[in-house]
């Protein structure tokens, strides 16, 4: 043992046993193990289980059924309705959140004083526990006592009290309004941050060239923040398609399947109907959509930050 060796602690000498090329992975190991076990393993497991007929009540008896669970998705009319609901949910929710969020972000940047205080207040719907946000909206829409129903009657839009959460034709829409309320602030903050990142000199130069405010917006603001907006758009898609609490608290997906989207359907199939195989197949469906969104997220990310060094 050389002199240099003796000054090193036992801990350091143990570490020295590991080849230098592998030593760098040691500090990363806990993260890799944690994320590997609790996020990536379940993904693989979902694909595996989706080929089995398996009940929640007898988890040890699984029967290989090939693609039968996927065939059921293909044939079941309830699931078709659920997929259609999910499509509506994601489209309307995303467009609503982006439009309102962008306007909010623009107002915050251009028109309102005390930006940091105002944006903190705006963010409250997003950081509030999801169940709290959802229960506020449930209460506002609830039964015949809800404030929103009262408002509609007072404004003369309807002349009767409708139980919106209990009507098959309407029950999907209150949760959509709720999710827009929750997600729009997030997009507003993204817009605000993007605005703050644009150099004022660009606008000054444009005005010198005689640009109208619309042209400033069209030829400076939009091009400068296009990747940021793309990130925001993808985040909105992902949060929308993943959202569970808003619907579950407000309607539990009912009546029937009228307000059920894919996440709620997965929960109902696995934990109420106990059909783990079918639920896994539905999970695989949701995972594939998320994977597509993630792919584009990485693409845009790459555009903003340059190559992954």
């Amino acid at each position: 043992m050389s002199y240099a060796d003796q000054t090193r602690s036992t801990y350091e000498r143990t570490i020295d046993q590991i080849p230098a090329s592998l030593r760098v992975y040691l500090p990363i190991l806990p993260v890799v193990v944690l994320v590997g076990i609790f996020i990536f393993y379940p993904i693989v497991r979902a694909i595996y289980t989706s080929f089995f007929e398996k009940s929640f009540l007898r988890p040890n008896q699984a029967e290989f059924v090939g693609l039968a669970n996927y065939a059921e998705i293909w044939n079941s009319s309830v699931i078709h309705q659920v997929l259609w609901n999910t499509f509506l949910w994601v489209t309307v929710g995303t467009l609503g959140a982006i439009t309102i969020g962008f306007v909010m972000g623009w107002l915050l940047h251009k028109k309102l004083p005390y930006v940091s205080v105002a944006s903190a207040i705006v963010l409250i719907p997003w950081v509030l526990p999801r169940v709290v946000g959802a229960s506020i909206w449930q209460f506002m829409f609830a039964g015949s006592r809800g404030i929103i129903n009262e408002l509609l009657v007072q404004l003369g839009i309807t002349d009767q009290y409708i139980v919106m959460l209990g009507s098959p034709a309407l029950s999907l829409w209150p949760p959509i309004i709720g999710i827009i309320w929750r997600l729009a602030p997030l997009f507003a903050l993204l817009t605000l941050t993007s605005y703050q990142g644009i150099d004022d000199h660009l606008y000054e130069a444009a005005r010198m060239d005689g640009a109208t405010p619309w042209e400033e917006f069209r030829y400076i603001t939009l091009p400068m923040m296009r990747y940021n907006l793309a990130i925001g758009f993808l985040l909105m898609l992902i949060y929308n398609i993943r959202s569970f609490s808003m619907i579950w608290v407000m309607t539990k997906g009912g009546p029937g399947a009228s307000s059920t989207t894919l996440p709620v359907m997965i929960y109902r199939t696995a934990f109420i109907d106990f059909n783990v195989g079918l639920a896994s197949a539905l999970s695989v469906l949701l995972l594939s959509v998320l994977l597509v969104f993630s792919y584009y997220y990485i693409r845009v990310y790459d555009k903003i930050q340059g190559e992954f060094q």
Binding site: I39, I43, I124, I136, Q138, L235, L287, F293
Partner: protein, 321 residues
């Protein structure tokens, strides 16, 4: 063209529309902007106002049709109901009634205070797991080159997209195989895994900009790599560390899906507990609103602190705040 205009670029505007030139256009723009501000403000704030107001109404006023916009008499009945139901559910009812002479009349028995305690346990645990492991990993990722670094960072970014309903069924299978069903430990690990990528991205952004000269100076003073980390880097990065901690804490505090599927009601944390509260007693809206306010307090305190890091953390550093 007036020469005392505050906007010095005005003489250069040639192709303006009437919207920007005439007096009427100016009024129209002001009205539209004002209206947009008003509408979005009402949309964002009214539900929050309604939550607060409902919490302070009496039970009889809650039942009124049409509902009152401002409570006629402000009352703490909602909060009192929450405390009473907590006392009832925690099994100290007899103690309070006999010894302190307080009559517990609540019909609800959900231990909201107990829920908050278990949620604190889980959230702090998860945040510690995420911050400790995430910081160590992000330091190495930021300072060293190694094989698979790009793949690792991409996988960490992608892993932010999946948690929630998409993996709750296989997660339940995994957790029952491990024999950890209905334990707080497993939630700590899952939330830790869900939030560690956030922490890695946030802290990597910080470490990337950390001046190398300071590390060299520490090295000259015979600091080992551990000592450099402990006595130089940690104190200097305290702000980012606290932000990461709060970020992870908030995520764990708000998460419903895994808490709902991996716990039974004896061990519920705040989100599933509140859900039972909402669905079981939705006549007592003042109690529900009061409970909602109580469980939102930590979130609001946290928001004030992390606002600056919010966008950066949430987008995995794609957009710098």
């Amino acid at each position: 063209m007036s020469t005392d205009s505050p906007d010095s670029t005005e003489p250069f505007r040639t192709n303006q529309s009437w919207l920007f030139d005439s007096q009427a256009g100016t009024y129209l723009r002001k009205i539209v902007v004002g209206l947009a501000t008003l509408l979005t403000a009402v949309f964002v704030l009214f539900p929050l106002y309604w939550l607060v107001v409902t919490a302070f109404k009496t039970t009889t006023e809650i039942q009124r049709i049409p509902p009152t916009i401002v409570p006629q008499n402000w009352s703490l009945q909602g909060f009192w109901l929450v405390i009473e139901s907590s006392i009832r559910a925690s099994g100290y009812k007899a103690f309070f009634e006999n010894t302190l002479g307080i009559h517990i009349s609540s019909a609800i028995d959900i231990n909201v205070i107990g829920l908050i305690v278990s949620s604190l346990k889980v959230s702090i645990g998860a945040a510690l797991v995420a911050v400790v492991f995430g910081t160590i990993a992000s330091y190495v990722i930021s300072r060293r080159e190694f094989h698979g670094k790009n793949v690792l960072m991409i996988l960490l970014l992608v892993s932010l997209m999946f948690p929630g309903p998409a993996i709750m069924v296989p997660m339940w299978e995994l957790v029952s195989t491990l024999g950890l069903y209905n334990t707080h430990l497993v939630l700590i690990l899952i939330y830790g895994a869900m939030t560690v990528p956030f922490v890695v991205w946030l802290m990597k952004g910080f470490f990337d900009e950390f001046p190398q000269a300071i590390l060299d100076a520490a090295r000259m003073d015979q600091c080992s790599s551990y000592e450099t980390f402990r006595y130089v880097i940690i104190p200097m990065s305290l702000n980012s560390l606290i932000a990461s901690f709060i970020f992870a804490f908030l995520l764990a505090w708000n998460e419903l899906v895994f808490a709902l599927t991996l716990l039974s009601n004896t061990k519920y944390t705040v989100p599933p507990g509140l859900l039972t509260f909402v669905q079981g007693f939705n006549v007592q809206w003042n109690a529900v609103a009061a409970a909602s306010i109580l469980v939102s307090i930590p979130v609001l305190i946290g928001l004030a602190y992390i606002q600056r890091y919010f966008v950066q953390g949430l987008t995995g550093g794609a957009i710098k705040g």
